[in-house]
Amino acid sequence: MKKKINIAVSGLNAIDSPGPGIAVIRALREAKSLDVKIIGLAYESLEPGIYMHNLIDKTYQIPYPTAGTDNLLARLEYINNAEDLNVIIPNFDAELFPMIKLESRLKEMGINTFLPTAEQFEERHKINLPDFGKRYNIKVPHSKAIYSTAEIGGLTDEFSYPVAVKGKLYDAEIAHTPEQVNTYYNKISSKWGLPIIIQQFIHGTEYDVAGLGDGKGNTISIVPMRKQYITDKGKAWGGISVDDKEIFKLTNHFISSTKWRGAFELELLKDHNNEYNLLEINPRMPAWIYLSVGVGQNIPKALVKLALGEKVEPYKEYAVGKMFIRYSNEMIVDVEEFHRISTTGEL
C-alpha cells in the first residue's frame, strides 16, 4: 500500500494569467506512483482552486509575502498541526524567497521542499540577468534596471526602440516611445515596486522550457514548447512540444553550470538568425506544466520524489508535437463556501 503524502500547493489562481497550482495538482493526482492529499494555500477568497473540491482536499489562506516570514511560519505551523504536511510546493515567484529562507525550519517540522538555493534564486533574477548571461556564457538581450523616470531619456544611448518594460517580479509591456516607457514605468512600479527593468525587445518566436534539475548538475527533465497562442498579457494559451537540439544544449548547460536545484522555466526567443536569447528564468514550474504530463514527463511528481529524498531517474523521452490548449470555465459555488473561506480562512 502506498503511503499517503500530504502536499501543500500554492498558486490556485486559475485566472486569465494563471498561477501554476492547479496544473501542478492535476499532475500529482495523475501520478500513479503517488497517493496524495492536496492542501491548497490561497491568498484571496476568490482564487478558483479553493472551490475545486475534486482536486483540492482542503484550502487554507496564508498571509501575503509582504507580511513577513514570521507570520508565514506561524500560519504554516498551524496548517501543519492540522494536516501533517510532507511537502510544500510554492508556485509564486514572490513566495519563493521566504520559503527558501524557511527551508530548514520547515524541514524541522517534517515538511520537505525542493527549491533553488538562495544564490541560484538571486543570480537568475531579472535585475541580474546580464551578469548571469556573461557568467554562464548564455545569450541574453541587453537590459538595465532603472529606479527613476529621469533615467528614461538616456535609454536611447543603450537601447533602440521598441523595448520591453518589466516589473521586478511580474508584468511586462512593450514600449515604442519614451512616453510609453514612462506610462508603463508608473503602471508597473505602482503595482510591483522598483526597480523597473528595461530590456531590448527582439523580434522572433517565443519558446519556453519547463525543466527540473537535481541540484548536483544533473538534468531530470526538459520539456520544450513553442507558444502558439499568446494572450494580451503574453501568456501562452496554447503551445506545442518541440524537439530542438539547441534548446536541449542550452538547457542542459544551464542546469549543469548552475547546478540548478528544483523546477524552472526558461523563456527563450529565437531571433532572425535562428539563435536563442534567454529572456527570463522563472525559478518554479510554469502554468503550462501539465503539458509535461501530456508528453510523458511528470515534472511535479518527480519534484515531490526529490523533495522526499527519493532517487529519481532522469526522464529520457517525451512526445513531440503534443499541444495544450487552455480554456476558461465557470464553476457554480454556494455563497456559504465563499463566506467560510473569507471568515475562517479555511475551506
Binding site: 518541440v242 530542438d244 513531440v320
Partner: protein, 86 residues
Amino acid sequence: MKIKKNIATSESGYVFNPSTGESFSVNPIAIEIFNFLKEGKSYEEISKTMLARYNTDEATFEKDYNDFMGMLKQHLLIETENEKEN
C-alpha cells in the same frame, strides 16, 4: 536537396517541423513532391514523374518547383550541410 529527416507529413496534407513546432498546410501535389524529396529523389526524377502524371509543360513545372524549393528553404525544412554530415 533533401527534406530534414525529422519532418513529418500527415495524410491530410500537413507538414510538421518538430524542431520549431511549426505546421504548414500544403496541397496534394506539393505533398507528392515533398515525399519524393524525403526519399532523396533528384529534380530530374521528380520532374519526369510529375510531367507523366499531370498535364503541364517542363518550363512551368521547373518554375513552380523552384518556387516551392524557395519556400521550403525559407521555412528551414531543407537539410543544411551540417545536418547532412550528422
